[in-house]
Symmetry: C2
Subunit: 200 residues, 2 copies
Amino acid sequence: MNEQCGNLRIAGCSFSVHPMSDQFIEHILESLEHVDTSKVWMETDDVTTTVRGRIEHVFDVTKAILLTIADRGVHVAFQGTYSIGCPGDSSGDAFMTESRERMNELNSISIDQKIAAKFSLYPMGGGDYMDTIYSQIERMEANGVDVSRAHYSTRLDGDTHSIFTGLEDVFRETEKSGSSHTVMTVTVSANSPSNKEDAS
Amino acid sequence: MNEQCGNLRIAGCSFSVHPMSDQFIEHILESLEHVDTSKVWMETDDVTTTVRGRIEHVFDVTKAILLTIADRGVHVAFQGTYSIGCPGDSSGDAFMTESRERMNELNSISIDQKIAAKFSLYPMGGGDYMDTIYSQIERMEANGVDVSRAHYSTRLDGDTHSIFTGLEDVFRETEKSGSSHTVMTVTVSANSPSNKEDAS
């Protein structure tokens, strides 16, 4: 219910990743082993995994988990809710002192994976963000991402790295523009059998 | 980006359902065949399915799709974003004239399924909703749902019908309280191997 609002600028993502395979447990466990989560606070239960920390590490870790599973060729869906401001708790605050260097980018960047993503942005606390968002979307298009309107969301088709960089920029700039509580939901599909172009 | 705000009170849900099985396509297609979607506008692509219509039919159809897949015993995850107000488009407006009778409740109610769910409510347009939400949550607890706090969300454990009735009430009452644009995200896990109590 978010009734306790802090003012620390810790970011977080509550996400779940779904490999559509009888071997879903192996895919998830091996991905979690493979990804360096040392710079984020992390907790997993039977519904979602939550990571908290600096914006760059929250995006670094979630992208790396998605990519390591997708790289195995399995059809995988990812759903994450990114949040900053009004966190409602203090778990992981100690991780805000971590350095900016991303722990997984070197491994992630070697994985070439096309995805289809839909995102929605909910700036709960004001801010002057619309122009910022449009310029970030233009930058994604310049990087080869295909942007289109979808119901209740914006659709992005293209390379995982270009899309995640764009999403992180949109999230970061919305917060900078003055929104005191920003929520962004992201749904991703990789290796979908119903999207031929997706089979990279 | 929702830049076009209408004032029609059409509700919608953009959702995806993930059976963690090599037979995920069969599970989804057979569920869609089984569920009566005649009272909602529906569109599916490779990332999500969107249903639009009256609140009761949006919840009736999404619950029925989740239940028919879970009833097969497969581990299934459901993620839905329910939205009302500021719809940004007019698809499905004609379905607002449908009668209130739920097309799937008779079949759904025969399925006894425990689930774990996490929900977050984002009232984007004001409203006096906190007391309303607390009373709805108390009602869910009275109906045997276990309510607990989770990171960025509220966790609900219990019977699918009690939980979906509670979620629909929270959504409906938030809208009634004056929020001009209400968004509610719901993540569900059924038959999870990591939750023994879940294996109903």
